[in-house]
Structures are given as C-alpha cells and as structure tokens.
Amino acid sequence: MIKFDLLILGDSGWGDELLFATVITILVSLSAMGLGIFIAIFTTWAKISGGIILKLISNFYTTVIRGIPELLVIYLIFFGGSAGIMYVAKIFGYNGYIELHAFTMGTISIGIISACYSSEVFRGAYNIIDKGQAEAAKSLGLSKIKIFIKVLAPQILRHALPGLGNVWQITLKDTALISVTGLVEIMRQTKVAANTTHSPFTFYLAAAILYLILTTFSSKIFNKLEDSSNKGIITT
C-alpha cells in the first residue's frame, strides 16, 4: 500500500524534492506570519486609538476576512493580484507589466488572513494590561513612543505569545492552500509526485506526516518561548 522506495533521497525517489518543498513551506509560513504581524500592529493600533474611520476600516477588514473562506481570498490574490499591483503602479506613473511571483502571492494572501487573527490576539493582550501602567509611565514624563516601546510592547508580547502560537499553527496549515497558485510547497510537490507515480496514498500520507512534524516541532518551540517569557512571573 505504501511504497517506501518512492520516498528515498536521490534521483530515483522524491525524498529530496519533498524536503526542499518543506523548506519552502516553512519560508512562506514565516514570511506570511511576519507580514501578518506587521499588518496586525497597524490594525490593532487603529482599533485602539484610531479615529472613527480607521476603526471602521480595521473592524471591517478583520470581520470580512475572518468570515470568508481562505481559499476565496487566495483566488482573489491569485487571479487579481498582478492586475491590482499594475493598477496601483499606474497611479504612480509606471505603465509596464508586473507579474507577481507565486511566493509573493502566497505570502501576501496568507499574510492578509493571518493578520486578522494576530490583530485579535494583540487586542486581547492589550486589554489585559492594567491601564495604570500607561498612566504611571506618562506621569514619569515618558514620551508616547517610549511608553509603547518600553512599557506596553514587552507586556503585550508576553500576553500575546500563547495566542500567536495558535495563529502560527493556523498560518502553517493555511499554506497548504496556496498550492493552488502553483508554488511548489509540500502540498503542490506531493500532488505532482502523486500524479507522476500514480501512488497518491503514499504521497499524501507523507505530506500529512511532514505537516504533523512541523506543527509538533513548532508548538514545542512556542512552549519554550512562553516559559522563558514568563520567567520571574508567578502564573497560576
């Protein structure tokens, strides 16, 4: 049932291709997570201290993206990403043809999805922090930026870490969907291998195991990070 000889490294097996695809999956997940956190910082800021319009926009963004299937968002970027970028470029006076690389499209679409979850996590973490802390920092004469960097951000990060761990798992699993754009990550590579060798069961099982290894391994890392960020703090 399972053809192990197809999974060995080297020319006769698909092992090395699968390993390379795993690296791509990790890279896409990392960059999408990074982009997501970057966007989430802005949307969280807009939700907490932005004006009414900014609040509306960021709430609309997180509600809509979280209520729509990820696959639909990916199709939107996949079929419309290049056209959208060219449209924006035209406003700035550039009329050439721009084509987005599959890796970029994958990062953008997963990043947009991941940002919604991250921003909810950040908002929750911000709400936990005692309001007195910011007031105390203000009364000490710290500037707004200093208050954020020195007092609030480290605590937000500590409270957000468990939630971010969940977002990372979601992001990692969502990258399987960008195989539809043709980026050769685990899912795409196993599909190609399954179709060429006519043994889908072997390869999809291998993909499942690869994802399981990645999620297990990364949850271990997040547990370590949580432990080290809670040093000196009594947790119940």
Partner: protein
C-alpha cells in the same frame, strides 16, 4: 468595479448555496453527535480509550484539512482493496469524501470543546446529583451534558463558522459549491473582484446567521443571566 457583473455573478454563485449548506449541516450534525461520545471517552478513566482519542485529535489538528481531503479522495480511492470493497460506493463520490473529511475534522475540534464544557461543570453539582441517588446515565443526561453544552456554545459557534469556511476546500475535489463556481467565473471573466464580492457576501451572510443563532441559543439557555 462593475455592479452589473456582480449581480450576474451573484446569481450564478447562488446556485451553489444548496451544496454548501448540505455539506455544513450534514457534517456539523454528524460531527456533534460523534463528538459527545468522543468527549466522554476522552475523560474516561480507561487509559487506552482516552489516549487513542487524544492521539486522534493530535493528528487531525496537526495536519491541514486539505491534506485530509486529498488523502481520502485521491489516496484511499487509489488503493485496490478499497476499490474492490463496498466502501468504493461511498468513496468514489467527491461529496461523501468531503463529508467524511469534514466530519473527521470537526469531531477533533468539537470533542475538545465539549470536554472543556464537561470539565467546567462545578463539583458541587455532581456531588448533589450523587447525593440524590441519580444513576450515572441520568446525571450525565439531565445535569452534566446540558450544563456543558451551555458553556460550550460560544466556542462551538466559532467551530460552526470554521466549518462553513472549510466546506470551500471540498471544491478542490470537483464538487461544485460556492467557491468552485466563483473560481470558474474568475478564470473565465478575469474579473476576480466581482466574483469575490458575490461569493464572499454569501459566506458572510451564512456566518452572520450562525452568529445570530448562537446568540439566540445563549439567550435561551442562560435565563438566569438575562436582564430583568
């Protein structure tokens, strides 16, 4: 943006709403029913039972749903023993493969939700059940499970929304529901934004209904929390 195109797209995409709703209802109801037993098994003192449920949840939650769907639809379908057995009647249909994958998936998440609900039932309630001389079955059926479900409503609402979104993946096994139809439009018209708005608004509406439904359930089963 072309409003007329959005409306024509909407009418096309709307044909897929039956397929999506059937998938959601079938897998949610089957999944919920199985999850009750799985949750009871997960907290049982029989180690083999609770540990096997734990590993099942671990595997399902650690792998993408897409892999599970492909493994069932393409993977199992390619095995000779299965092709020759009675299972083939079910596994050759993309619809049933989708249902099986979605049920497997939702059971893993719902089991944990219900387990959390059961474990949040206060000790005093269980003790008073016992002091009243209730049998184990009556205690679970009349007291623990209803209270556990009430606790679990908000989390289960999230799971329902995730399931509505998850049905879109079944479109990758040639089953034509909302997302599948939207993809067809996108690749034909090259106007992705209009198709996205048409399909997305249906999903948003479905999820809006679920949120209202959960709010109603919470209101109905928490009469002691209502404002007088």
């Amino acid at each position: 943006m072309d409003i007329e195109l959005i409306i024509t797209n909407f009418l096309i995409v709307f044909n897929g709403i039956d397929e999506t709703i059937i998938l959601v209802l079938l897998s949610l109801s089957l999944g919920f029913f199985i999850s009750i037993f799985f949750a009871l098994a997960r907290i049982s003192s029989i180690k083999l039972l609770s540990e096997s449920i734990y590993y099942y949840i671990f595997v399902i939650r650690g792998t993408p749903l897409l892999v599970q769907i492909y493994l069932i639809y393409f993977g199992l379908g390619s095995l000779k023993p299965i092709r020759e057995s009675f299972l083939w009647i079910v596994l050759k249909e993309p619809f049933w493969c989708g249902v099986i994958a979605l049920v497997l998936n939702t059971v893993a998440y719902t089991t944990e939700i219900i387990r959390g609900g059961i474990q949040s039932v206060s000790k005093g309630q269980i003790e008073s059940c016992k002091s009243l001389g209730m049998t184990r079955f009556t205690m679970y059926y009349k007291i623990i499970l209803p209270v556990a479900f009430r606790q679990a409503f908000p989390a289960y609402g999230n799971e329902m929304i995730l399931m509505v979104k998850a049905t879109s993946l079944v479109s990758l096994t040639t089953y034509m529901e909302i997302t599948g139809l939207a993809r067809n439009i996108m690749s034909k018209t090259f106007a992705p934004v209009e198709a996205f708005i048409a399909a997305g608004s249906i999903y948003l509406f479905l999820n809006f209904l679920i949120v209202q439904f959960i709010k109603f359930l919470e209101w109905k089963y928490n009469p002691h929390l209502r404002l007088k």
